[in-house]
Protein backbone atom coordinates (compact mmCIF):
# COMPACT_ATOMS: atom_id res chain seq x y z
CA UNK A 1 0.00 0.00 0.00
CA UNK A 2 1.38 3.35 -0.93
CA UNK A 3 0.83 6.27 1.34
CA UNK A 4 -0.03 9.55 -0.25
CA UNK A 5 0.51 11.92 2.57
CA UNK A 6 -0.14 15.17 0.84
CA UNK A 7 1.71 17.44 3.20
CA UNK A 8 5.28 18.38 2.47
CA UNK A 9 7.77 17.31 5.08
CA UNK A 10 8.56 20.67 6.75
CA UNK A 11 4.88 21.44 6.88
CA UNK A 12 4.25 18.05 8.42
CA UNK A 13 6.87 18.67 11.05
CA UNK A 14 5.36 22.04 11.83
CA UNK A 15 1.91 20.51 12.01
CA UNK A 16 3.07 17.76 14.34
CA UNK A 17 4.46 20.42 16.61
CA UNK A 18 1.15 22.21 16.51
CA UNK A 19 -0.70 18.97 17.18
CA UNK A 20 1.49 18.34 20.17
CA UNK A 21 0.92 21.84 21.36
CA UNK A 22 -2.79 21.51 20.86
CA UNK A 23 -2.94 18.27 22.77
CA UNK A 24 -0.92 19.75 25.58
CA UNK A 25 -3.10 22.80 25.71
CA UNK A 26 -6.17 20.58 25.92
CA UNK A 27 -4.64 18.73 28.82
CA UNK A 28 -3.79 22.04 30.40
CA UNK A 29 -7.45 22.89 30.25
CA UNK A 30 -6.81 25.87 28.03
CA UNK A 31 -10.45 26.38 27.20
CA UNK A 32 -10.69 30.08 26.96
CA UNK A 33 -13.71 31.93 25.57
CA UNK A 34 -13.98 31.01 21.90
CA UNK A 35 -15.43 33.52 19.48
CA UNK A 36 -16.30 30.72 17.08
CA UNK A 37 -18.03 27.56 18.24
CA UNK A 38 -16.10 24.34 18.25
CA UNK A 39 -16.40 22.48 14.96
CA UNK A 40 -19.17 19.93 14.76
CA UNK A 41 -16.80 17.00 14.49
CA UNK A 42 -15.94 17.65 18.08
CA UNK A 43 -19.55 17.44 19.12
CA UNK A 44 -21.90 14.52 19.22
CA UNK A 45 -21.16 13.58 15.65
CA UNK A 46 -19.22 10.40 15.22
CA UNK A 47 -19.66 9.49 18.84
CA UNK A 48 -17.68 6.43 19.64
CA UNK A 49 -15.01 7.13 17.05
CA UNK A 50 -11.60 8.55 17.82
CA UNK A 51 -12.54 11.70 15.96
CA UNK A 52 -11.20 15.07 16.84
CA UNK A 53 -8.70 13.99 19.37
CA UNK A 54 -6.76 17.02 18.20
CA UNK A 55 -8.03 20.55 18.34
CA UNK A 56 -5.68 23.46 17.89
CA UNK A 57 -6.79 26.90 18.83
CA UNK A 58 -5.02 30.16 18.22
CA UNK A 59 -6.32 33.34 19.74
CA UNK A 60 -9.40 31.41 20.73
CA UNK A 61 -10.26 30.45 17.16
CA UNK A 62 -10.10 26.84 16.19
CA UNK A 63 -7.59 26.74 13.34
CA UNK A 64 -7.23 23.04 13.11
CA UNK A 65 -8.94 19.87 14.28
CA UNK A 66 -8.89 16.25 13.38
CA UNK A 67 -7.22 13.00 14.25
CA UNK A 68 -4.84 10.41 12.92
CA UNK A 69 -6.99 9.85 9.84
CA UNK A 70 -7.87 13.33 8.67
CA UNK A 71 -6.68 16.71 9.83
CA UNK A 72 -8.83 19.71 8.95
CA UNK A 73 -7.00 23.03 8.72
CA UNK A 74 -8.37 26.56 8.49
CA UNK A 75 -6.57 28.44 5.70
CA UNK A 76 -4.22 31.08 7.11
CA UNK A 77 -5.75 34.44 7.96
CA UNK A 78 -2.78 36.02 6.21
CA UNK A 79 -4.33 35.02 2.90
CA UNK A 80 -7.59 36.89 3.39
CA UNK A 81 -6.58 40.02 1.49
CA UNK A 82 -5.29 38.03 -1.46
CA UNK A 83 -8.49 36.01 -1.30
CA UNK A 84 -10.63 39.11 -1.38
CA UNK A 85 -8.92 40.32 -4.54
CA UNK A 86 -9.19 36.93 -6.20
CA UNK A 87 -12.83 36.61 -5.17
CA UNK A 88 -13.72 39.96 -6.68
CA UNK A 89 -11.98 39.08 -9.91
CA UNK A 90 -13.18 35.50 -10.33
CA UNK A 91 -16.30 34.81 -8.28
CA UNK A 92 -18.22 37.97 -7.44
CA UNK A 93 -19.82 38.31 -10.87
CA UNK A 94 -22.04 35.29 -10.22
CA UNK A 95 -22.08 34.71 -6.47
CA UNK A 96 -22.38 38.38 -5.58
CA UNK A 97 -19.99 40.72 -3.82
CA UNK A 98 -21.01 39.38 -0.42
CA UNK A 99 -21.10 35.77 -1.63
CA UNK A 100 -24.71 35.48 -0.60
CA UNK A 101 -25.87 34.03 -3.92
CA UNK A 102 -28.03 35.10 -6.83
CA UNK A 103 -31.32 33.54 -7.94
CA UNK A 104 -31.31 31.45 -11.10
CA UNK A 105 -30.58 33.18 -14.33
CA UNK A 106 -33.47 33.34 -16.82
CA UNK A 107 -31.48 31.06 -19.14
CA UNK A 108 -31.40 28.37 -16.45
CA UNK A 109 -34.65 26.66 -17.25
CA UNK A 110 -33.70 23.05 -16.71
CA UNK A 111 -35.38 20.95 -14.03
CA UNK A 112 -32.13 20.94 -12.11
CA UNK A 113 -31.67 24.71 -12.13
CA UNK A 114 -35.28 25.47 -11.37
CA UNK A 115 -35.36 23.07 -8.43
CA UNK A 116 -31.90 23.58 -7.08
CA UNK A 117 -31.22 27.18 -7.95
CA UNK A 118 -27.85 28.38 -9.13
CA UNK A 119 -25.10 30.72 -8.00
CA UNK A 120 -25.56 29.48 -4.45
CA UNK A 121 -24.94 31.38 -1.27
CA UNK A 122 -21.36 30.65 -0.23
CA UNK A 123 -21.55 32.03 3.28
CA UNK A 124 -20.90 29.29 5.76
CA UNK A 125 -20.19 26.54 3.20
CA UNK A 126 -16.77 26.19 4.73
CA UNK A 127 -13.22 26.23 3.39
CA UNK A 128 -13.32 22.58 2.26
CA UNK A 129 -16.24 23.23 -0.09
CA UNK A 130 -14.59 26.32 -1.60
CA UNK A 131 -11.32 24.48 -1.98
CA UNK A 132 -13.05 21.51 -3.64
CA UNK A 133 -14.86 23.56 -6.27
CA UNK A 134 -11.77 25.58 -7.17
CA UNK A 135 -9.20 22.81 -7.05
CA UNK A 136 -11.32 20.48 -9.13
CA UNK A 137 -11.36 23.20 -11.79
CA UNK A 138 -15.16 23.46 -11.64
CA UNK A 139 -14.95 27.05 -10.43
CA UNK A 140 -14.66 29.56 -11.96
CA UNK A 141 -17.31 27.83 -14.06
CA UNK A 142 -17.01 27.32 -17.78
CA UNK A 143 -20.61 28.30 -18.38
CA UNK A 144 -22.93 29.56 -15.68
CA UNK A 145 -25.98 28.07 -17.33
CA UNK A 146 -24.78 24.47 -17.22
CA UNK A 147 -26.85 22.07 -15.19
CA UNK A 148 -23.67 20.90 -13.55
CA UNK A 149 -20.17 22.37 -13.60
CA UNK A 150 -17.61 20.04 -15.17
CA UNK A 151 -14.25 19.03 -13.79
CA UNK A 152 -11.52 20.61 -15.87
CA UNK A 153 -7.91 21.72 -15.49
CA UNK A 154 -7.45 23.85 -12.43
CA UNK A 155 -7.83 27.62 -13.06
CA UNK A 156 -6.45 28.85 -9.76
CA UNK A 157 -3.54 27.50 -7.80
CA UNK A 158 -3.75 25.64 -4.50
CA UNK A 159 -2.66 28.77 -2.66
CA UNK A 160 -5.21 30.95 -4.48
CA UNK A 161 -7.94 28.44 -3.64
CA UNK A 162 -6.99 28.56 0.03
CA UNK A 163 -6.94 32.35 -0.11
CA UNK A 164 -10.48 32.54 -1.47
CA UNK A 165 -11.59 29.99 1.10
CA UNK A 166 -10.00 32.09 3.84
CA UNK A 167 -11.75 35.20 2.58
CA UNK A 168 -15.19 33.58 2.30
CA UNK A 169 -14.80 32.21 5.82
CA UNK A 170 -14.50 35.77 7.14
CA UNK A 171 -17.93 36.72 5.76
CA UNK A 172 -19.83 34.93 8.53
CA UNK A 173 -19.47 34.90 12.28
CA UNK A 174 -20.32 31.21 12.56
CA UNK A 175 -17.54 28.89 11.58
CA UNK A 176 -17.78 27.61 8.02
CA UNK A 177 -17.26 23.90 8.18
CA UNK A 178 -15.48 21.73 7.45
CA UNK A 179 -11.95 23.09 7.11
CA UNK A 180 -9.63 21.99 4.32
CA UNK A 181 -8.82 18.34 4.99
CA UNK A 182 -5.55 16.53 4.75
CA UNK A 183 -5.92 12.76 4.79
CA UNK A 184 -3.38 10.31 6.12
CA UNK A 185 -3.82 6.98 4.37
CA UNK A 186 -1.40 5.20 6.63
CA UNK A 187 -3.10 2.23 8.29
CA UNK A 188 -6.23 2.58 6.15
CA UNK A 189 -8.31 -0.59 5.78
CA UNK A 190 -8.96 -1.35 2.12
CA UNK A 191 -11.53 -3.99 3.04
CA UNK A 192 -13.58 -1.53 5.06
CA UNK A 193 -13.16 1.04 2.31
CA UNK A 194 -14.42 -1.33 -0.36
CA UNK A 195 -17.38 -2.33 1.81
CA UNK A 196 -18.37 1.27 2.57
CA UNK A 197 -17.84 2.27 -1.05
CA UNK A 198 -20.37 -0.32 -2.17
CA UNK A 199 -22.86 0.79 0.49
CA UNK A 200 -22.52 4.57 0.13
CA UNK A 201 -20.90 5.52 -3.18
CA UNK A 202 -21.64 2.86 -5.80
CA UNK A 203 -25.33 3.77 -6.07
CA UNK A 204 -24.33 6.89 -8.05
CA UNK A 205 -20.67 6.60 -9.07
CA UNK A 206 -21.08 2.91 -10.04
CA UNK A 207 -19.16 0.11 -8.39
CA UNK A 208 -16.18 0.64 -10.67
CA UNK A 209 -16.17 4.41 -10.04
CA UNK A 210 -16.74 5.34 -13.65
CA UNK A 211 -19.66 7.66 -12.92
CA UNK A 212 -22.86 7.82 -14.94
CA UNK A 213 -25.79 10.01 -15.97
CA UNK A 214 -28.38 10.76 -13.26
CA UNK A 215 -31.74 12.52 -13.27
CA UNK A 216 -32.55 15.54 -15.39
CA UNK A 217 -29.15 16.18 -16.94
CA UNK A 218 -27.15 15.76 -13.75
CA UNK A 219 -24.47 13.12 -13.54
CA UNK A 220 -22.17 11.43 -11.08
CA UNK A 221 -18.64 12.27 -12.20
CA UNK A 222 -15.98 9.65 -12.70
CA UNK A 223 -13.73 9.07 -9.70
CA UNK A 224 -10.77 7.93 -11.78
CA UNK A 225 -8.73 11.13 -11.56
CA UNK A 226 -9.79 12.70 -8.28
CA UNK A 227 -6.97 13.40 -5.78
CA UNK A 228 -7.34 11.98 -2.29
CA UNK A 229 -8.07 15.25 -0.51
CA UNK A 230 -10.76 16.19 -3.02
CA UNK A 231 -12.47 12.86 -2.36
CA UNK A 232 -12.54 13.77 1.35
CA UNK A 233 -13.86 17.26 0.57
CA UNK A 234 -16.61 15.83 -1.64
CA UNK A 235 -17.66 13.28 0.98
CA UNK A 236 -17.69 15.86 3.77
CA UNK A 237 -19.32 18.77 1.91
CA UNK A 238 -21.59 17.08 -0.65
CA UNK A 239 -20.95 19.21 -3.73
CA UNK A 240 -23.93 19.79 -6.01
CA UNK A 241 -26.34 16.90 -5.90
CA UNK A 242 -24.08 14.62 -3.93
CA UNK A 243 -25.41 13.87 -0.45
CA UNK A 244 -23.30 15.15 2.41
CA UNK A 245 -21.72 12.45 4.52
CA UNK A 246 -21.11 14.10 7.84
CA UNK A 247 -22.29 12.27 10.90
CA UNK A 248 -22.85 8.94 9.21
CA UNK A 249 -19.20 8.32 8.36
CA UNK A 250 -16.32 8.71 10.78
CA UNK A 251 -13.01 10.19 9.69
CA UNK A 252 -11.43 6.75 9.83
CA UNK A 253 -14.18 5.38 7.57
CA UNK A 254 -13.73 8.27 5.14
CA UNK A 255 -10.00 7.57 5.10
CA UNK A 256 -10.70 3.90 4.30
CA UNK A 257 -12.98 4.88 1.42
CA UNK A 258 -10.39 7.33 0.09
CA UNK A 259 -7.71 4.65 0.24
CA UNK A 260 -9.92 2.26 -1.73
CA UNK A 261 -10.77 4.95 -4.28
CA UNK A 262 -7.25 6.21 -4.84
CA UNK A 263 -5.76 2.74 -5.00
CA UNK A 264 -8.23 0.24 -6.43
CA UNK A 265 -10.83 2.41 -8.15
CA UNK A 266 -8.21 4.59 -9.79
CA UNK A 267 -5.76 1.78 -10.43
CA UNK A 268 -7.77 -1.40 -10.85
CA UNK A 269 -5.60 -4.48 -10.93
CA UNK A 270 -7.46 -5.94 -13.94
CA UNK A 271 -5.86 -9.37 -13.67
CA UNK A 272 -8.19 -10.62 -16.40
CA UNK A 273 -6.88 -8.39 -19.17
CA UNK A 274 -8.20 -5.12 -20.54
CA UNK A 275 -10.61 -3.45 -18.12
CA UNK A 276 -13.05 -2.39 -20.88
CA UNK A 277 -13.59 0.96 -19.17
CA UNK A 278 -15.30 -0.59 -16.16
CA UNK A 279 -18.54 -0.45 -18.14
CA UNK A 280 -19.53 -3.99 -17.36
CA UNK A 281 -21.96 -5.94 -19.55
CA UNK A 282 -22.47 -3.07 -22.00
CA UNK A 283 -18.85 -3.15 -23.10
CA UNK A 284 -18.64 -6.92 -22.66
CA UNK A 285 -21.65 -7.48 -24.89
CA UNK A 286 -20.20 -5.20 -27.52
CA UNK A 287 -16.85 -7.02 -27.48
CA UNK A 288 -18.49 -10.43 -27.38
CA UNK A 289 -20.76 -9.70 -30.32
CA UNK A 290 -18.54 -7.48 -32.47
CA UNK A 291 -15.20 -9.16 -31.82
CA UNK A 292 -16.24 -12.66 -30.81
CA UNK A 293 -19.25 -13.48 -32.96
CA UNK A 294 -18.23 -11.00 -35.69
CA UNK A 295 -14.75 -12.38 -36.22
CA UNK A 296 -15.97 -15.96 -36.02
CA UNK A 297 -18.54 -15.15 -38.72
CA UNK A 298 -15.66 -13.84 -40.82
CA UNK A 299 -13.79 -17.05 -40.07
CA UNK A 300 -16.84 -19.00 -41.25
CA UNK A 301 -16.80 -16.84 -44.37
CA UNK A 302 -13.29 -18.09 -45.01
CA UNK A 303 -13.91 -21.71 -44.07
CA UNK A 304 -17.03 -22.07 -46.20
CA UNK A 305 -17.72 -21.45 -49.84
CA UNK A 306 -19.13 -18.16 -50.95
CA UNK A 307 -21.18 -19.12 -53.97
Amino acid sequence: MTHSLTLKKPVAVALSAMVLFGALSLFAGAAGASPKQAPYQTGRYNAGTPNSSVVVEKDGTVVKYGNGSIVYILPSAALVDLGHALYSANCAACHGVDANGVPPHSAQTSYANVHAGAYPNLQGVGPAAVDFWIESGRMPAAAGTDVQAVRRPQRLTHKQALAIAAFIDTLTTNPGLPYVPSVNLKSASLATGADLFALNCAACHTITGGGDALAFGTYAPSLRHVPANQVVEAIRTGPGNMPRFSGNLSDAQVRDIVAYVTEYIQHPTNPGGLGLGGLGPVAEGFIGLALGVGLLCLAAFWVGERQ
Binding site: R44, Y45, A215, N248
Partner: protein, 311 residues
Protein backbone atom coordinates in the same frame (compact mmCIF):
# COMPACT_ATOMS: atom_id res chain seq x y z
CA UNK B 1 -9.53 -27.36 -67.28
CA UNK B 2 -5.97 -28.02 -68.17
CA UNK B 3 -4.39 -26.81 -64.94
CA UNK B 4 -6.08 -29.64 -63.09
CA UNK B 5 -4.20 -32.22 -65.05
CA UNK B 6 -0.82 -30.66 -64.32
CA UNK B 7 -1.30 -30.78 -60.58
CA UNK B 8 0.43 -33.26 -58.31
CA UNK B 9 -1.91 -36.01 -57.20
CA UNK B 10 -3.14 -35.83 -53.60
CA UNK B 11 -1.28 -38.22 -51.38
CA UNK B 12 -3.79 -39.24 -48.75
CA UNK B 13 -6.30 -40.95 -51.03
CA UNK B 14 -6.19 -44.37 -52.49
CA UNK B 15 -8.35 -43.18 -55.34
CA UNK B 16 -6.84 -43.06 -58.77
CA UNK B 17 -6.98 -39.36 -58.99
CA UNK B 18 -7.75 -38.91 -62.61
CA UNK B 19 -10.91 -37.02 -61.83
CA UNK B 20 -10.47 -33.24 -61.73
CA UNK B 21 -12.77 -33.23 -58.72
CA UNK B 22 -10.16 -35.09 -56.81
CA UNK B 23 -7.67 -32.30 -57.35
CA UNK B 24 -6.91 -30.05 -54.41
CA UNK B 25 -8.05 -26.46 -54.68
CA UNK B 26 -4.57 -25.13 -53.98
CA UNK B 27 -2.61 -23.92 -57.00
CA UNK B 28 0.61 -24.91 -55.24
CA UNK B 29 -0.18 -27.88 -53.00
CA UNK B 30 3.42 -28.41 -51.95
CA UNK B 31 3.76 -24.82 -50.85
CA UNK B 32 0.43 -25.03 -49.09
CA UNK B 33 1.49 -28.18 -47.31
CA UNK B 34 4.63 -26.41 -46.17
CA UNK B 35 2.64 -23.47 -44.89
CA UNK B 36 0.25 -25.70 -43.01
CA UNK B 37 3.19 -27.57 -41.54
CA UNK B 38 4.61 -24.29 -40.28
CA UNK B 39 1.26 -23.48 -38.65
CA UNK B 40 1.20 -26.87 -36.93
CA UNK B 41 4.77 -26.46 -35.73
CA UNK B 42 3.97 -23.02 -34.33
CA UNK B 43 0.86 -24.41 -32.67
CA UNK B 44 2.94 -27.19 -31.18
CA UNK B 45 5.37 -24.60 -29.85
CA UNK B 46 2.59 -22.51 -28.33
CA UNK B 47 1.05 -25.54 -26.63
CA UNK B 48 4.44 -26.35 -25.15
CA UNK B 49 4.66 -22.73 -23.99
CA UNK B 50 1.18 -23.11 -22.48
CA UNK B 51 2.38 -26.08 -20.50
CA UNK B 52 5.43 -24.13 -19.35
CA UNK B 53 3.32 -21.12 -18.35
CA UNK B 54 1.04 -23.35 -16.36
CA UNK B 55 3.98 -25.03 -14.71
CA UNK B 56 5.48 -21.78 -13.50
CA UNK B 57 2.03 -20.42 -12.61
CA UNK B 58 2.26 -17.48 -14.99
CA UNK B 59 -0.48 -14.88 -15.25
CA UNK B 60 -3.88 -15.63 -16.76
CA UNK B 61 -3.23 -13.78 -19.98
CA UNK B 62 -0.09 -15.75 -20.85
CA UNK B 63 -2.02 -18.99 -20.34
CA UNK B 64 -4.85 -17.78 -22.55
CA UNK B 65 -2.58 -16.30 -25.18
CA UNK B 66 -0.51 -19.46 -25.60
CA UNK B 67 -3.47 -21.82 -25.51
CA UNK B 68 -5.70 -19.63 -27.66
CA UNK B 69 -2.94 -18.87 -30.13
CA UNK B 70 -2.09 -22.56 -30.42
CA UNK B 71 -5.72 -23.54 -30.98
CA UNK B 72 -6.13 -20.78 -33.53
CA UNK B 73 -3.08 -21.89 -35.52
CA UNK B 74 -4.13 -25.53 -35.31
CA UNK B 75 -7.60 -24.56 -36.53
CA UNK B 76 -6.33 -22.44 -39.41
CA UNK B 77 -3.99 -25.24 -40.47
CA UNK B 78 -6.63 -27.93 -40.30
CA UNK B 79 -9.20 -25.87 -42.17
CA UNK B 80 -6.61 -25.01 -44.81
CA UNK B 81 -5.80 -28.69 -45.15
CA UNK B 82 -9.43 -29.52 -45.73
CA UNK B 83 -10.06 -26.53 -47.93
CA UNK B 84 -6.97 -26.47 -50.12
CA UNK B 85 -5.39 -29.92 -50.07
CA UNK B 86 -8.36 -32.26 -50.08
CA UNK B 87 -10.45 -33.05 -53.14
CA UNK B 88 -11.97 -29.91 -54.42
CA UNK B 89 -15.35 -31.31 -55.39
CA UNK B 90 -18.08 -30.39 -55.51
CA UNK B 91 -19.72 -33.71 -54.88
CA UNK B 92 -23.32 -34.61 -55.03
CA UNK B 93 -25.61 -36.97 -53.18
CA UNK B 94 -29.19 -37.95 -53.88
CA UNK B 95 -31.80 -36.73 -51.45
CA UNK B 96 -34.55 -39.22 -50.79
CA UNK B 97 -38.05 -38.31 -49.76
CA UNK B 98 -38.74 -38.64 -46.08
CA UNK B 99 -42.19 -39.96 -46.86
CA UNK B 100 -42.64 -43.73 -47.03
CA UNK B 101 -44.71 -45.46 -49.69
CA UNK B 102 -48.45 -45.10 -49.36
CA UNK B 103 -48.82 -48.83 -48.49
CA UNK B 104 -46.40 -48.44 -45.62
CA UNK B 105 -48.17 -45.36 -44.42
CA UNK B 106 -51.56 -47.05 -44.50
CA UNK B 107 -50.24 -50.08 -42.72
CA UNK B 108 -48.66 -47.95 -40.01
CA UNK B 109 -51.82 -45.91 -39.48
CA UNK B 110 -53.90 -49.06 -39.42
CA UNK B 111 -51.66 -50.54 -36.77
CA UNK B 112 -52.06 -47.57 -34.51
CA UNK B 113 -55.75 -46.92 -35.05
CA UNK B 114 -57.16 -50.41 -35.35
CA UNK B 115 -54.93 -52.29 -32.98
CA UNK B 116 -54.65 -49.63 -30.31
CA UNK B 117 -58.16 -48.26 -30.70
CA UNK B 118 -59.68 -51.72 -30.81
CA UNK B 119 -58.08 -52.80 -27.59
CA UNK B 120 -59.18 -49.73 -25.69
CA UNK B 121 -62.67 -49.81 -27.14
CA UNK B 122 -63.07 -53.38 -26.08
CA UNK B 123 -62.17 -52.54 -22.46
CA UNK B 124 -63.52 -49.04 -21.90
CA UNK B 125 -63.65 -49.36 -18.13
CA UNK B 126 -60.01 -50.42 -17.88
CA UNK B 127 -59.02 -47.57 -20.16
CA UNK B 128 -60.91 -45.07 -18.05
CA UNK B 129 -59.48 -46.38 -14.81
CA UNK B 130 -55.96 -46.31 -16.20
CA UNK B 131 -56.48 -42.72 -17.28
CA UNK B 132 -57.88 -41.80 -13.87
CA UNK B 133 -54.95 -43.44 -12.10
CA UNK B 134 -52.35 -41.65 -14.14
CA UNK B 135 -54.28 -38.40 -13.80
CA UNK B 136 -54.56 -38.62 -10.03
CA UNK B 137 -50.90 -39.56 -9.73
CA UNK B 138 -49.84 -36.58 -11.83
CA UNK B 139 -51.96 -34.27 -9.73
CA UNK B 140 -50.74 -35.66 -6.44
CA UNK B 141 -47.13 -35.72 -7.59
CA UNK B 142 -47.23 -31.95 -8.00
CA UNK B 143 -47.44 -31.57 -4.23
CA UNK B 144 -44.12 -33.10 -3.25
CA UNK B 145 -42.55 -31.65 -6.39
CA UNK B 146 -43.66 -28.07 -5.87
CA UNK B 147 -45.23 -27.61 -2.48
CA UNK B 148 -42.19 -28.79 -0.51
CA UNK B 149 -39.92 -26.40 -2.34
CA UNK B 150 -40.95 -23.50 -0.17
CA UNK B 151 -43.51 -22.19 2.28
CA UNK B 152 -46.67 -20.35 1.37
CA UNK B 153 -46.19 -16.59 1.22
CA UNK B 154 -48.68 -15.90 4.01
CA UNK B 155 -48.22 -12.32 5.08
CA UNK B 156 -44.41 -12.35 4.62
CA UNK B 157 -44.59 -9.84 1.81
CA UNK B 158 -47.06 -7.60 3.59
CA UNK B 159 -45.19 -6.79 6.81
CA UNK B 160 -41.74 -5.62 7.84
CA UNK B 161 -39.88 -5.66 11.14
CA UNK B 162 -40.53 -1.96 11.71
CA UNK B 163 -42.61 -1.78 14.87
CA UNK B 164 -43.81 1.00 17.09
CA UNK B 165 -40.89 2.79 18.82
CA UNK B 166 -38.21 0.89 16.89
CA UNK B 167 -34.86 2.64 16.94
CA UNK B 168 -33.32 3.58 13.60
CA UNK B 169 -29.81 2.12 13.36
CA UNK B 170 -27.25 2.18 10.56
CA UNK B 171 -25.64 -0.95 9.06
CA UNK B 172 -23.22 -1.16 11.99
CA UNK B 173 -26.05 -1.10 14.52
CA UNK B 174 -25.38 2.44 15.74
CA UNK B 175 -28.52 4.35 16.72
CA UNK B 176 -29.11 7.51 14.74
CA UNK B 177 -29.28 10.68 16.81
CA UNK B 178 -31.11 13.73 15.60
CA UNK B 179 -27.84 15.67 15.51
CA UNK B 180 -26.07 13.04 13.43
CA UNK B 181 -27.00 14.11 9.92
CA UNK B 182 -26.53 17.54 8.45
CA UNK B 183 -28.94 18.80 5.82
CA UNK B 184 -28.40 16.94 2.59
CA UNK B 185 -27.17 13.74 4.24
CA UNK B 186 -28.68 10.34 3.67
CA UNK B 187 -28.09 7.02 5.39
CA UNK B 188 -29.54 3.52 5.09
CA UNK B 189 -31.22 2.45 8.32
CA UNK B 190 -32.77 -0.68 9.77
CA UNK B 191 -34.91 -1.35 12.82
CA UNK B 192 -32.61 -2.01 15.76
CA UNK B 193 -31.72 -5.68 16.04
CA UNK B 194 -32.34 -6.49 12.40
CA UNK B 195 -29.36 -4.74 10.78
CA UNK B 196 -27.28 -7.88 10.21
CA UNK B 197 -29.94 -10.27 8.96
CA UNK B 198 -30.14 -10.74 5.17
CA UNK B 199 -33.75 -11.77 5.33
CA UNK B 200 -34.70 -8.72 7.37
CA UNK B 201 -32.54 -6.36 5.32
CA UNK B 202 -34.37 -7.41 2.21
CA UNK B 203 -37.66 -6.07 3.59
CA UNK B 204 -36.71 -3.50 6.23
CA UNK B 205 -34.08 -1.40 4.47
CA UNK B 206 -35.07 2.21 4.74
CA UNK B 207 -33.37 5.37 3.61
CA UNK B 208 -33.22 8.24 6.08
CA UNK B 209 -32.67 11.69 4.61
CA UNK B 210 -32.37 15.05 6.27
CA UNK B 211 -33.75 17.64 3.90
CA UNK B 212 -34.32 20.64 6.16
CA UNK B 213 -33.74 21.84 9.72
CA UNK B 214 -37.42 22.21 10.55
CA UNK B 215 -40.25 19.70 10.75
CA UNK B 216 -41.54 18.88 7.31
CA UNK B 217 -44.82 17.61 6.04
CA UNK B 218 -44.59 15.57 2.92
CA UNK B 219 -48.31 15.01 2.52
CA UNK B 220 -51.61 15.50 4.26
CA UNK B 221 -51.93 13.16 7.21
CA UNK B 222 -48.15 12.99 7.55
CA UNK B 223 -47.76 16.22 9.51
CA UNK B 224 -45.73 14.64 12.30
CA UNK B 225 -43.81 12.11 10.24
CA UNK B 226 -40.81 14.29 9.44
CA UNK B 227 -39.36 15.73 12.67
CA UNK B 228 -36.54 18.27 12.35
CA UNK B 229 -36.27 17.82 8.62
CA UNK B 230 -35.82 14.04 8.69
CA UNK B 231 -37.81 11.81 6.36
CA UNK B 232 -37.53 8.05 5.99
CA UNK B 233 -38.74 5.99 3.05
CA UNK B 234 -38.62 2.30 2.29
CA UNK B 235 -35.46 1.72 0.25
CA UNK B 236 -37.17 -0.95 -1.87
CA UNK B 237 -38.17 0.37 -5.27
CA UNK B 238 -41.86 -0.18 -5.93
CA UNK B 239 -40.93 -1.27 -9.47
CA UNK B 240 -38.68 -4.31 -8.95
CA UNK B 241 -37.37 -4.03 -5.42
CA UNK B 242 -33.89 -2.65 -6.10
CA UNK B 243 -32.48 -0.53 -3.26
CA UNK B 244 -33.26 3.09 -4.09
CA UNK B 245 -29.86 4.21 -2.90
CA UNK B 246 -29.28 7.15 -5.20
CA UNK B 247 -30.15 10.45 -3.54
CA UNK B 248 -29.77 13.73 -5.40
CA UNK B 249 -29.43 16.40 -2.76
CA UNK B 250 -30.33 19.52 -4.69
CA UNK B 251 -33.07 17.95 -6.80
CA UNK B 252 -34.39 16.23 -3.67
CA UNK B 253 -34.96 13.12 -5.72
CA UNK B 254 -34.39 9.48 -4.90
CA UNK B 255 -33.43 7.63 -8.07
CA UNK B 256 -33.52 3.88 -8.50
CA UNK B 257 -30.16 2.74 -9.88
CA UNK B 258 -31.73 -0.18 -11.76
CA UNK B 259 -34.41 1.34 -13.97
CA UNK B 260 -34.19 5.03 -13.14
CA UNK B 261 -37.51 5.61 -11.42
CA UNK B 262 -37.40 9.00 -9.68
CA UNK B 263 -39.14 9.78 -6.40
CA UNK B 264 -39.75 13.25 -4.98
CA UNK B 265 -38.74 13.06 -1.32
CA UNK B 266 -40.43 16.36 -0.44
CA UNK B 267 -43.78 15.03 -1.57
CA UNK B 268 -44.24 11.59 -0.07
CA UNK B 269 -41.79 10.01 -2.57
CA UNK B 270 -44.33 10.14 -5.35
CA UNK B 271 -42.66 8.84 -8.51
CA UNK B 272 -42.29 11.67 -11.01
CA UNK B 273 -40.44 9.75 -13.70
CA UNK B 274 -39.77 6.17 -14.75
CA UNK B 275 -41.57 2.84 -14.47
CA UNK B 276 -42.28 2.73 -10.71
CA UNK B 277 -46.05 2.84 -10.20
CA UNK B 278 -46.32 3.77 -6.51
CA UNK B 279 -44.65 6.11 -4.03
CA UNK B 280 -42.10 4.64 -1.68
CA UNK B 281 -43.87 3.90 1.62
CA UNK B 282 -42.93 6.49 4.26
CA UNK B 283 -41.88 5.55 7.78
CA UNK B 284 -43.35 7.87 10.43
CA UNK B 285 -40.55 9.16 12.67
CA UNK B 286 -40.26 10.86 16.03
CA UNK B 287 -37.39 12.05 18.17
CA UNK B 288 -37.36 10.48 21.62
CA UNK B 289 -36.41 12.25 24.83
CA UNK B 290 -32.73 11.36 24.42
CA UNK B 291 -32.71 12.74 20.91
CA UNK B 292 -32.67 9.41 19.07
CA UNK B 293 -34.76 8.85 15.97
CA UNK B 294 -37.43 6.18 16.28
CA UNK B 295 -40.37 4.93 14.29
CA UNK B 296 -43.83 6.08 15.34
CA UNK B 297 -45.12 2.92 13.74
CA UNK B 298 -44.39 0.43 10.97
CA UNK B 299 -45.04 1.16 7.32
CA UNK B 300 -48.74 1.63 6.61
CA UNK B 301 -48.57 -0.33 3.33
CA UNK B 302 -46.55 -3.24 1.91
CA UNK B 303 -43.07 -2.31 0.76
CA UNK B 304 -41.41 -3.22 -2.52
CA UNK B 305 -42.72 -4.32 -5.89
CA UNK B 306 -46.28 -5.21 -6.77
CA UNK B 307 -47.80 -8.69 -6.58
CA UNK B 308 -51.22 -10.28 -6.86
CA UNK B 309 -52.19 -10.37 -3.17
CA UNK B 310 -51.13 -6.77 -2.55
CA UNK B 311 -54.31 -5.02 -1.46
Amino acid sequence: MSEHEHREPVSFSRAKATDPHMQPAAKDPVGMERRIAILFILAFGLFAAFGACYWVNASAWTLGATMGGGLLLLGVGLVAWGKYLMPKGPFVEERHDMASSSEDRDAFAATIVERGGGIVKRRPVLGGLLGAGVGVFSLVAIFPLLRSLGPNPGNTLLVTDWKKKAHLVDSTGRRIHVDDLSIGSAVTVFPKGYENDDQAQSMDQTILIRIADHDITTQKGRETWGPQGYVAYSKLCTHLGCPVGLYERELKLLVCPCHQSMFDVTNGAIPNFGPAPRPLPQLPLYVDSEGYLRAQNGFDEPVGPGFWERK
